[in-house]
């Protein structure tokens, strides 16, 4: 098997060995990296996280499980929500998110629905798999229960998260997530400054990002 590009690279790099080690340099030989950030107390990490969300024009708050009912009602009124779609995870089921939405007469669309139907949705509710306080970042996997479009197509994205998923730095997230087929970091609502540098939110992705930390 000859690959002309690899051959050219090998020629340019002055390799003389006859592909004795097809794998090239072992991965472990790369230069050392720096010390990851160390975590602070959970309370302080939550504060840092919410503070960053705010700087990114997101809306973050701490909530007790009992407070979800009222918070959702407020969100529905403020944002004129009529339709919603929800990740099918044990955490969100346990919090009774679907039932609460039903009680407010919100039309629920299956998270696995056709993309055209999903695109009509006002609100997408997910949780997150990891949180990075330093940057105000949500990290989300994808699966049949956690479809990618829920955090992307609706005009509003709400993530209801638990403090247990806080990680001090990207290193820990990557150590746990590197073998998954998909991961996305979400750091604030969709934004652009492409026209005269005017910052505009929600150009393609959600215009508003809500993050509720359940404590």
């Amino acid at each position: 098997m000859t690959n002309p590009i690899l051959e050219n690279i090998r020629k340019s790099l002055g390799r003389t060995d006859q592909i004795s080690s097809p794998q090239g340099a072992p991965l472990s030989l790369r230069p050392a990296i720096y010390q990851p950030r160390q975590p602070e107390s959970v309370e302080s990490e939550i504060e840092t996280f919410l503070n960053e969300i705010k700087k990114l024009s997101g809306i973050g708050q701490k909530l007790s499980p009992d407070g979800i009912d009222f918070a959702l009602e407020t969100l529905i009124t403020d944002q004129n929500i009529r339709t919603a779609t929800v990740w099918q995870t044990p955490h969100l089921r346990q919090l009774g998110v679907t039932e609460i939405l039903n009680s407010f007469n919100i039309k629920l669309i299956s998270p696995n629905a056709d993309k055209h139907e999903m695109a009509q949705c006002d609100l997408g509710i997910t949780e997150a798999d990891f949180l990075l306080p330093e940057t105000g970042t949500l990290a989300l996997y994808s699966s049949t229960e956690k479809p990618r479009a829920v955090s992307l197509l609706p005009r509003i994205h709400l993530a209801i998260v638990r403090p247990e998923i806080l990680r001090a730095d990207m290193h820990q997230v990557f150590a746990e997530a590197k073998n998954s087929n998909y991961l996305v970091f979400i750091t604030g609502p969709s934004r652009t400054a492409d026209i005269e540098l005017t910052v505009t939110l929600g150009v393609h992705g959600p215009k508003n990002l809500y993050v509720w930390v359940i404590i």
Partner: protein, 475 residues
């Protein structure tokens, strides 16, 4: 093997820069520069990070064969397809073939320097496939029919009024002069396209050899749309984008957005390893990675010039470059502008770009100070100038004979100090013909190119005589 793009000529362009361009560009760069400075100030280990970033990129370049081999195996085992493209033409044919096999009629594209480099849109359109740029800035310049003028904000040279006119003309609506409204119109127009396109084409910021993962960094969400909605995802990525592993990635993610836009992280960072596992999760059923060489493997041969391949495309060098800020991106005549363009295009495009661009710098060094992976841009500029002026093992000199003869004469005069001293005695007399007061306002060619913009001080050259009289005689 690599292609030659139409190149206007830096000097020619620089003499007719539209006045609106420096103003618009300086507004953008000014914001990015202060944003970057604020982020850097927050991070005490910034310099350490830069050094590590530089070391890892250097190491990766020197072991590119190994890492690409790893990468290919990992993408295949994740269920993706890998295509190797030696040239831009190869890459275009690969993409067209995938489109044909899947009966693709329309394509949505997320911003990608690699596809700009190979002019993919033109090829798709020639094959009767609609290809739409979906990054707002790229969408605007696609409507305008031009290339990008800045790596991060490609349409920065256009005003909201000009954009409104473009939207009105192409979308058949009456678009207002309001950036927020214009963005809303683009959202609605493009959303339809995201949902109906059969194929999404993206570039990539990094390729992780360890797991075969494509990393994409975007802000608007169009990158997620292009890689989530259509059934086929094709990523066209330069072979230089490979990095060893996820731990390396932490370094580059910390460097990239801070250097580019002054964000800690861009809004969306996607980590894509092969196609979707289940239909229900969404995302493409096929994932194709097109690895683009287009001259890169040849650049690797030059131990000085190849440092350009360390670049992570943040644009920080352009943002601080006083030359770029006064001419804008079009002057560089290629998909990549600013100082990094001045060292990449000559090595990729050859011919006129090579003769001109390495000289389009004052060697002020501001670029090297901010480069997150410490590319020694001034050193490479000098190195490429040497290739033009005197030739090296990769190329014969291409500079005009008259300039080379002039340089030889200058060299001779400066090395023979009697001749230099003779010149020092006659120059003031000769130049006094042109003197007005203490200034020379109309010097003969080539100094006329100097005095066109500002006068030259008059030649005095009397220190040597003074020293002789005052010092040597008293000893």
């Amino acid at each position: 093997m690599n292609e030659t793009s139409p190149y206007i000529g830096f000097e020619e362009y620089s003499e007719h820069v539209p006045t609106s361009i420096p103003l618009a560009v300086q507004q953008a760069t000014g914001r990015f520069v202060s944003g970057r400075a604020a982020r850097v100030a927050e991070l005490p280990q910034w310099e350490e990070l830069r050094q590590i970033g530089s070391d890892i990129r250097q190491h990766t370049i020197e072991n590119m064969d190994g890492y690409l081999t790893h990468l290919e195996a990992a993408v295949l085992s994740a269920g993706g397809h890998v295509h190797w493209a030696e040239s831009g033409e190869d890459a275009r044919q690969i993409v067209l073939q995938i489109a044909k096999e899947n009966k693709v009629k329309s394509v949505v594209k997320s911003k990608s320097m690699a596809t700009e480099e190979i002019h993919l849109n033109r090829a798709l359109e020639a094959a009767g496939i609609e290809s739409l740029e979906t990054d707002l800035g790229e969408y605007i310049i696609q409507l305008a029919g031009t290339g990008p003028s800045h790596i991060i904000v490609p349409a920065v040279h256009l005003t909201k009024e000009e954009i409104a006119v473009l939207f009105s003309k192409h979308l058949g609506i009456d678009a207002p002069n309001d950036p927020i409204e214009l963005a809303r119109i683009a959202r609605e127009t493009l959303r339809e396209k995201f949902l109906s396109a059969e194929m999404g084409i993206s570039g990539g910021n990094f390729l992780i050899a360890e797991t075969g993962t494509l990393v994409m960094v975007t802000n608007e969400g169009n990158g997620r749309m292009c890689t989530t909605m259509p059934d086929i995802h094709v990523a066209v990525v330069g072979i230089d984008k490979v990095i060893p592993d996820w731990d390396s990635l932490t370094v580059f993610l910390k460097l990239l957005a801070r250097s580019a836009t002054g964000q800690k992280l861009s809004t969306y960072t996607q980590f894509i390893t092969g196609p979707r596992h289940a239909e229900g999760e969404g995302g493409p059923k096929e994932f194709h990675l097109v690895l683009l060489d287009n001259g890169r493997s040849k650049i690797l041969k030059d131990p000085v010039g190849r440092d350009v391949l360390k670049c992570i495309r943040c644009g920080a060098c352009a943002n601080v470059c006083p030359v770029y800020k006064n001419v804008g991106g079009f002057a560089y005549g290629s998909f990549i502008s600013g100082p990094i363009g001045a060292i990449l295009s000559p090595q990729m495009l050859g011919t006129q770009a090579a003769r001109e661009l390495p000289f389009a710098s004052t060697l002020c060094g501001a670029c090297a100070d901010v480069c997150p992976v410490k590319i020694p841009i001034p050193t490479i500029l000098r190195h490429l100038r040497r290739r033009v002026s005197q030739g090296d093992e990769f190329s014969k000199p291409t500079l005009s004979t008259s300039i080379r003869v002039t340089a030889s004469l200058a060299s001779f005069a400066l090395a023979q100090n009697w001749l230099y001293r003779f010149g020092t005695r006659v120059l003031p007399t000769f130049m006094s013909i042109f003197k007005r007061g203490n200034w020379i306002s109309n010097a003969p060619y080539p100094l006329s190119r100097w005095t066109k913009a500002r006068p030259l001080p008059s030649f005095t050259a009397s220190f040597r005589n003074w020293w002789k009289k005052e010092k040597d005689s008293t000893k």
